[in-house]
Symmetry: C2
Subunit: 200 residues, 2 copies
């Protein structure tokens, strides 16, 4: 007869642990800003030691922050429906509404992305700028059938994303309530931008 | 007979001296960024002592920087032609072209303003955000006859300024050459923004 092995709690897989830490960091950095976050608080939140954070993120706080910004940006980009099997008339309002909800509430990932756009850290800022370009590329794919239109169209669509973000932030900060009207405005400007930039 | 007074070089009036220092700072901060500027270099440029800078700007480098950002922003706002005696059909392309030139070259004042928009210093950032609001208000005045339209229209026009800046920056960075096409795009989007936001 074999002796029973002592029962141990199953260990969390490294990839899962890494994601838990990154997600906890995303929320913490969004709420408190870079300077306001202590690694110990994130360790406590996830139920691990501070040393384990350094094991996964040898660069410490700045590396964890960059990972959180990357996660936030990847989620914002992934939200966009670019399925060619879905009609534009259905995708466009849904995409605009989904993005507006992120800004008007705002979500932790949007807050982190928006702050990253203004970061003095080059790699943090580049991550956010790349996300904006990817959202513009997805928009091009939906409206023009290609994610790599001519440079002038790409420039215009990146500008359109900035328009959407800035207008919605102002809408929120000025206390305007009507999201349907904001959605209509964003769609009108999107249609005008695509038509003018692509020479349609 | 009265004795001749010894001749002395006329002293520079305080207001003039202050402006010289602020203008030299505007160029220096635009070119080298906040960290890259030394007060001694600005003093040498104007031909005064470092102590005199501290006399005019007791807060030192950060106060001089804020003064430079304010000057840059004031000049950008002042560029906008809001003369009600000039027809919109003449003012609009001229205003758009003038602003695009600032971005496409770019001018020192635009570089300082754009960097101020992303500053971690609250008063620096607020100065740039206020400038953007004032440019939006001037645009409202030209297109709608009032600098204080409803909040939704103000939000849309601030968004439009962000659209213009981001699109032109991308246009420049992607190496697109055709400024006339960019101007036409900006005007198309402006007309669409005003029409949709004001319910016209």
């Amino acid at each position: 007869m074999t002796q029973a092995r002592p029962q141990r709690a199953p260990r969390t897989a490294p990839q899962v642990r890494r994601e838990q830490l990154t997600r906890a960091a995303l929320t913490a950095f969004a709420e408190h800003g870079y300077a306001g976050v202590e690694l110990q608080a994130i360790a406590d939140e996830v139920g691990v030691t501070r040393n384990l954070i350094h094991h996964y993120f040898p660069g410490g706080k700045s590396e964890l922050h960059l990972a959180a910004v990357r996660l936030a940006c990847a989620e914002l980009v992934d939200m966009l429906d670019v399925d060619p099997g879905v009609a534009l008339a259905r995708k466009m309002p849904a995409n605009v509404d989904a993005y507006l909800r992120e800004i008007l509430q705002p979500s932790a990932r949007y807050m982190l992305y928006a702050r990253a756009l203004r970061s003095a850290e080059e790699d943090v800022r580049a991550t956010a700028i790349e996300a904006r370009s990817l959202i513009a590329a997805g928009t091009a794919r939906n409206h023009l059938g290609t994610a790599r239109p001519p440079a002038a169209v790409r420039a215009a669509l990146v500008g359109f994303i900035a328009f959407t973000e800035t207008t919605a932030e102002q809408w929120r900060d000025l206390g305007v309530r009507d999201q349907a009207r904001l959605r209509a405005l964003i769609m009108d400007v999107l249609v005008a931008t695509v038509a003018s930039a692509s020479g349609a």
